[in-house]
Subunit: 228 residues, 2 copies
Amino acid sequence: MKPIEEKERYTLSKIVSDNLRQYIIEKKLKTGEKLPAERELAKMMEVSRVMIREALRSLESTGIIVIRHGEGAFVNTNDSSVILNHLLYFWKLNNDKMNELLELRHVLEKAAIEQIILSAKVDHLKELENIIDRMKETSDTKKFQEYDIEFHSCLIKATENDLFAQLTDIIAEYFSSISHSQMDQAERNKTVNEHQLIVEAVKQKNKQLALQILKEHLEYSKKYILIK
Amino acid sequence: MKPIEEKERYTLSKIVSDNLRQYIIEKKLKTGEKLPAERELAKMMEVSRVMIREALRSLESTGIIVIRHGEGAFVNTNDSSVILNHLLYFWKLNNDKMNELLELRHVLEKAAIEQIILSAKVDHLKELENIIDRMKETSDTKKFQEYDIEFHSCLIKATENDLFAQLTDIIAEYFSSISHSQMDQAERNKTVNEHQLIVEAVKQKNKQLALQILKEHLEYSKKYILIK
DNA sequence: CTGCCTAAGTGGTAAGGCCATCGTTCCTTT
DNA sequence: AAAGGAACGATGGCCTTACCACTTAGGCAG
């Protein structure tokens, strides 16, 4: 499948970038820890600052570090959302099938609902109801959509699976980036109502019902997005 | 240059890199096509060559382009192996994410089984049985593991969702890359047996049972991987 | 103590130069 | 004429110097 790239990867910046990866592993740097300054790294590795910078850019674009102007470069080894985003970009470039994204979202949320019913934690339910209340109160469409995303995001948190959460976030972000259509009051009421029904069903531990409503809910927003 | 910032995407090199991505999309550049020379891009975008280079490095490390010394930068929109490698690196960095991967695999396969039972297509079942037969016959451990992957891959195909299939492939590749342990005959028999039970349950449209066996099956391979 | 302000540290950007590599052209040699 | 090789131009690789922009912390004035 992959012929082990025997291509010459001699270029200094790549070597430096690999060295930095190694450095992070060896020093066991965890998320949040700071890397030495560019000028310092340049001295350490005996290369110009330019090379250090190109290497850092490389690491940054794969999400291994984040660079903050005036502060420094910080390790980030447990949030793979940056790279997942690039993966999404690739996937979009080749086979842009929104359906499949929505299906992924669907199975993830199904898993979340099952998890909540199983674990019987009330925390998430409380938070979900909280969000629903806020949705009812706001009249700002933008805020409303934010709450909507927050609701589904909160749902996913129940799985306690960061990967699921990141995937969901990316998908949500993607769709909110391509759809700028406005919801009228009726649509908003419908959304709130469905959210509420889901929470109710979950509370009663009625898995069948909860999943059924979820399906309809997502089916609806699917149409909504595709029509756009 | 138009800094359409909303967050802190101030940095020129990021803007340039985004512009280049946009450039590739707008010009509909396909794999293999060449980008303008660095010095030329610098003039076009009215920035220094340093910025262009940093942006190119960025794109290169996400696999969107490949840079060849003395030749130029070439678009690469269908080979995502580079970015997959980074993703694998990420997961290897924190093994505790393995669980999350296995869970993702689980929900995807659950979806597949439900789909097969619903659609009642016999093609997939035939193919699955075919693979099982081959698993029984082979004595080569390596082949056996390949068939194992093929089985699960074939299962996913039932969803007719390329995204699901790709995700599954990625996960499978990850685990086969970190686990080189050998299976003894008993373990292999168990694996084959479980596969068979799953197919049987699906044939009888017994969703509950099929999902239950799948769960145990994955639970088992999970232990198997973690012990390693 | 509060608040402003400066200075040091750090990343961001620029300009210019030279080296290394690849492809092409064209000339030499056989 | 064909094969080989030398030269050139285009392009990426790398370095140096210099300066700008942002952030934080520490000192000074109120």
